[in-house]
Subunit: 168 residues, 2 copies
């Protein structure tokens, strides 16, 4: 097990971070999973596994699907009706949820490739690959539940060997 | 730059993944960023940077905040009013968004520590650390916009050195 990642701390070695009342330094959470509430788990499996090619880790029909979504990162597609038991009053409204899941690419061409691949898998186009005023290129699609995926080429974006992100 | 991560492919070396019409193997997206739509970017900065100790990468007052959220992973807090230009009709509804951002820990004690730290930083409790029927322990809090954070100890969860997640 990659224990360093389970307790990965972006402030370690850089600073002790802010202090919270006492002199105890704060270790912030680190994201190792993202769970999206979906209306039809099988439909999500058709889209994410069959359509987009994500590696399935485990699947409980009608309940939840786990796929590998990045380095040390899970994506869970969970029956939205099961969420309130653990997450309280959450649910889909009339607008799509105000968030996006993003994939930063090494080139503008990859943005177009990911965009085309997502549409072929059944995503809905929100914005075609577009040169943005901040100097990069991005495209946006919606998954079957409306969750946005953003494919982004930011020329200055970089991930160091230790996982540190710079250039945004 | 850690180019391998920018083009990290969880199916490479394992299989060629599903095929899409032709014989071209699919390379799924990988998550390198998560963007949440927030009502007050400064309030998000107070919570995520000052309160929770995330490392700030960049900040445009009133518009967007980027913090380091994991290995090769960005968390962006973006003014929700700016989102529709790129993401279409997204927004907050009467219920909290149906998702959670998760941090898998190496012990149940860490779940309690993260839960307490988040409350101290101004999060709202949704569920205190609870032993779950699936054999682990989790707790849930809401950030200032209602976005859920889930702190989870799943004893079988593991991240291999190559970033592959197993045990869920």
């Amino acid at each position: 097990m990659y224990d360093d990642l389970l307790s990965w701390c972006p402030v370690a070695g850089v600073s002790h971070g802010p202090m919270l009342g006492s002199m105890t330094p704060i270790t912030p959470p680190s994201i190792t999973a993202l769970t999206l509430g979906v209306r039809d788990v099988q439909r999500s499996r058709d889209f994410y596994v069959t359509g987009l090619g994500f590696r399935e880790i485990s699947f409980i029909p009608g309940e939840i699907l786990f796929v590998q979504a990045g380095f040390g990162l899970l994506l869970a597609l969970w029956n939205v009706e099961s969420m309130p038991g653990e997450y309280g009053q959450v649910g889909h409204g009339t607008l799509a949820p105000p968030l996006s899941v993003g994939h930063n690419t090494a080139s503008a061409e990859e943005v177009s490739e990911l965009y085309a691949g997502a549409l072929a898998a059944g995503a809905t186009s929100v914005s075609a690959p577009t040169r943005r005023e901040w100097g990069g290129t991005s495209a946006c699609v919606a998954d079957p539940d409306g969750f946005r995926w953003d494919f982004v080429h930011n020329p200055s974006f970089a991930i160091d060997d230790d996982g540190t992100v710079t250039g945004v």
